[in-house]
Amino acid sequence: MKYKLPLATAVLTVALLSGAHAADKLDASCASCHALTKPTDTSLDRLMSRKGPDLWYAGSKFNADWLVAWLQDPKPIRPAGYPYFKTTMEGSDHDVVDPSKITPHPKLAKAAAESAAAALMALKAPDLVPSGTFKGDTAGARMGALSFTKLRGCITCHQGENGQGGFSGPELTNAGARLQPDFIAAYTIDPQHFDPHIWMPTLNLKDQDIQRITAYLSVQGRGDKK
């Protein structure tokens, strides 16, 4: 009986620190902007105050080659900055980006980029991104383009093929090079499952739509694009 509380505390500690091992291999400065372990605070307040996207599921999200290259030459992924509601200001015709509010991402040397990418790729979340969420049928890519640009309105916030589209979400002109297809599908199904309160809506799309949109996005920016 008297050991129950210490045991419970130990179990809680282990649970909270699980996944921390891989995160420990990253430079401490990464954690000043990115959550490298699953946050316990899931409030809107936290979302509004954070400086960069969560990376605790990075290994189930990114392609390693893209990470290595991007960390050496980190061009903005979100045209309006991150988060857009802190980097935009009123303009004459419409809201515009305030460049003074965008902090450039640190640029890493090759060896550091490879090491950071390896540590990030170890941050897997298989429960969040089940293998096989994208069933691999690329034949629906053309219909996916139509869904993305017209039928489902993804283009409102995201730039797709040819850089056409909105600014508040991450550009997807190179989605296939940057993201794993299973992640694209799983995140589109339920963004709030990854990131409570995130400003991407859940569109309640049917699986056929999810598969087609993923087929379209997963070839963007790839050399083997059809």
Binding site: A8, T42, L44, Y84, D93, H94, L151, T156, G166, L203
Partner: protein, 133 residues
């Protein structure tokens, strides 16, 4: 003195229990971070979700405007907003533009905002348009 000596053992146990309190409180806070948190003010909620298209001026001129094929609703338009009943505004926010015969570019926010937040948002929109229905 004898009273003190008699109470020493129970008091010691009591202090030990008290020492565990901070750990228990910390554990409870870690497990239930949203308890006791109030939602941010509704105008800030607007800035997070709505302003990307409807704009900081609330007049349909958000940062996404250049890429849009349909101009977002101007929430400062007293006439247009005044002609739209509360329940239609609620439905447009919760179920998206298609649910009220408007553009698909207005998405469904029902999985992100609670009914309470959407009700508050409709009230807020009435203050933005200086109109009511």
């Amino acid at each position: 003195m004898s009273t003190f000596a008699k109470n020493e053992a129970p008091a010691s146990r009591s202090w030990k229990s008290l020492a565990l309190l901070p750990a228990l409180v910390a554990a409870a806070l870690l497990l239930t971070p949203e308890i006791g948190r109030a939602d941010p003010p509704i105008d800030q909620v607007y800035n997070v979700y709505c302003a990307q298209c409807h704009g900081l001026k609330r007049n349909g001129t958000g940062v996404n405007l250049p890429g849009l094929s349909v101009r977002p609703r101007d929430h400062t338009d007293s006439k247009g907003m005044g002609d739209t009943p509360d329940d239609e505004l609620f439905k447009a926010i919760k179920d998206g533009g298609l649910a009220v015969n408007k553009s698909v570019l207005m998405p469904t926010w029902g999985a992100v905002l609670s009914d309470k937040q959407i009700t508050e948002m409709v009230k807020y929109l009435r203050t933005v348009c200086h109109c009511g229905k």
